[in-house]
């Protein structure tokens, strides 16, 4: 009996923490972005655990949306579903933005650490996660004429995500408005440079691999004769 109450208490406690960490705090940040991110950074209220869970949730929701979005809104063929690709589509841009933003803001007196930037972006996924989920459910009850509600939900999520990231940048790096905008542009530039370098490296690697492979084939074929 005592165990039971203890378990109940524990469960209740866990639930309270879950609501506070995973819902209330992100909502608070969304509604009061400057104050929210302030406590996010100063009071170290953000946790890595929550960030990872948010990213995983978005990946899972995206995979679910691929298959279960209503027929009218769904342009995907289930045969094209590739969960690895879905993971990469979400994780890769986050890492790319994190790294490039860190690279730019370190030079521009940004106060944010890379971990904070990463967590800030993950927390900013919160509205997108909810809008994806709601849109997924909604799409199964809407007809083609009401498709606007579906797109509205999705675009609202995207907009709020952008809004949160923007204010997150201001708070985390302790920037003014203009500097924030400039660093965002710099981040995009850095991201494209990273992409370019990665592609260049990939191409180079392929060439080197091709060269050694040809050498290897040449040797093996000659030796065999």
């Amino acid at each position: 009996m005592i165990l039971m109450t203890k378990f109940k208490e524990k469960l209740h406690h866990g639930w309270t923490i879950f609501v506070a960490e995973y819902i209330k705090f992100p909502v608070y940040i969304m509604l009061h972005p400057l104050k929210g991110f302030e406590s996010f950074k100063r009071d170290k209220r953000a946790s890595m655990k929550v960030s990872i869970v948010f990213i995983v949730a978005l990946v899972v929701l995206n995979i679910l949306a691929f298959q279960y979005t209503g027929f009218e809104m769904n342009n995907n063929d289930i045969r094209d579903l590739n969960s690895i690709a879905e993971i990469i589509y979400i994780v890769a841009p986050i890492i790319l933005i994190t790294v490039s933003n860190w690279a730019v803001t370190t030079l521009a007196d940004g106060k944010g650490k890379m971990k904070e930037i990463f967590m800030m972006i993950s927390y900013s996924l919160f509205p997108l996660i909810w809008s994806t989920g709601i849109a997924l459910v909604l799409s199964n009850f809407l007809t083609g004429d009401e498709i606007a509600f579906y797109t509205l939900t999705l675009s609202l999520g995207l907009f709020l995500m952008g809004y949160m990231i923007f204010f997150g940048m201001i708070s985390i790096h302790e920037y003014g408005l203009v500097k924030c905008i400039i660093t965002i542009l710099g981040t995009l530039l850095a991201a494209s440079i990273i992409i370019f370098v990665v592609l260049l490296g990939y191409d180079l690697f392929q060439r080197i691999y091709g060269f050694f492979y040809t050498v290897y084939r040449e040797i093996t074929l000659r030796d065999l004769i």
Binding site: E72, D77, F141, T143
Partner: protein, 650 residues
Amino acid sequence: MRKTKILIFLLTTIVLLTTIQAKAAIGYTYNHKGEAIYSTIGLTVNQDPYIASTLGINPVDFTSPEDMFVYKDKLGNETIYIVDSVSNKLFVFDGNFVLQDTVSDYKLTIDQFSLDELSKIKSDKDYVVARNTFFLQNIDSALGKAIITTEPVTIEVAEMRWKNTNDSIAKVEQVDGVDYVIAQGAGQTTVIAEFYTANDLLKETPIPTISQTYKVIVTDEVPGSIIDPTKTNGFSEVELNNMTSFQLKLSNVVCVYRSVIEKTGEDYIYLCDKGNNQIVVIDAITYEIVKFVTVPDDISFEGINFSPEDVITDITGRMYVIADNIFEGIIQFSVDGIFNRFTGVNYVTLSAWEIFWRNISTESQLAKQSSIINTSFTSMCTNSDGFIYSTSYAITNDDGIVTDDNSMIKLINTSGKDVIRRNGYQSPKGDVIYIRSSTASAVRGPSKLSGITANEYGIYTVVDSKMGKLFTYDYEGNLLYISGQPLYISSDRGSQIDTLSNPVAITYHGEELLVLDKNNKAILVYENTDIGALINQAVQYEYVGDSENAALVWQEVVKQNSNYEYAYIGIGKMYRKNKDYEKAMEYFKIGADKDAYSRAFKLYRDAKIRQAFPYIAGGVFAIVGAKITYNLIKYKRFRKVREGADDSYD
């Protein structure tokens, strides 16, 4: 012994079952995603093609058949016309391909035409009215006139000068001391010869004794070559005055068409006389020439060699002509052959982005950019409403890369607008998937549609001369079936009896489809396969609005070919009509018709809500009622307590 027998029997059965496979009809179609999938063909060749010997024609006269037309009169009697562009003969058959007539010369009665009209007409590549010859034999200055012959001779005058009115068409030059008229470009101009005697030249402003104007017409001469004065074999004006009629000879006849002008009842055959740059209209019964359409007197046609490729008319007798090198559209002529306008124009559209770039680019940048070239039409036919179905090549840019392949098939209404329906999974355009760039030009690029024909219930078929395929669509633009043998190897093209090598004309003949193949010199008779006939029947039912009978036929189609996606939409429509929305949704989903699915889903959802509403409303009422009663009881109790308290205070 018995056991071995059973064993042998079993073994043979297994071997037969596993090794012998029924050869399925080879065919493909495109699914809703535009992927090629296996499917059944809708048209097949079941009989030997008609060739010259079976048609009763001398094979020498049937070396290059160009066009075929099936004319149906009001009583339903059919006449089939075929033209050959080398022998320039018109073969007339009845509905069963029995030769009725062979026409090679067409009687032209001179009284019916004015001299001006006659001077524009050509016969066997030459003008009917002989050109003025422009070489001078000698000058007899005493007589004051020049004797004109066809022999180039030096001139015995003190001095002569030539004047050209248009250097871009012809000019006079000296070659080995003899004056010749040298061709420069197609057109009509005049050359003036001025002859001065020694006396003339003494004056301050010399006036020539004789000034002779010669008409020079340049047609197909190579620029820079001498115009041969003997070339013309026309009649002189005097000769024409003494004749009542002569036989006109056509050259390179590429199109035949027959129709009756409803208002006047005039029954004419129209022939595209490409080699003579004219359209010849002849009487359908007597084959006598009635009228001509020559190059229009309009600025759009200046310097262009008018080469009509295809002609059709509407019910009022207006002519619609496709011509080589004319990119503006289909040329519309009035009943009398006067140029009206261009219709069905192939618009090249630029996106806002392209317009922006073109605005800020410099001249030299624009010159380096690949321009987008409009394409000309390839064939036409009329439907039962008198609208024109037309085909054209895809619009490409300079590099041969296709920029728009969706408007290759058009239905042009009387005001010149494209009103074809493109409600299918893809817009009608022949092959959806094709090799976009490769070195083998034989297989590259979109379909080259060379013929189109429509039947009375909106089904139209186009023929692709690149792959030898027939694509059949319904009036909504749904791809019904693809027929014809696949031609993957170019050297193998048309070697089989039922493959198409160079289809040039295609026409419905009852339920059959006739295809005229120029390389094979044959007419292939395509008949509907079982499933093809079923599909046609279903489309016919849908055309008249009988969706229930159509659905029954579609069910039969699905039984025979479960890959046939479009049929599921037809079945779904029946279920929707019977208010079985859930089933309708299921079928629309298989048929990938989002609009129809959405409509069915809306009805389904509304029905469900209507069904559930009493319970929901009841539930809400019950809860609200319970709450109110609960409150009332609570209030009463509270009042009682309060009253009691009040009492205690007293």
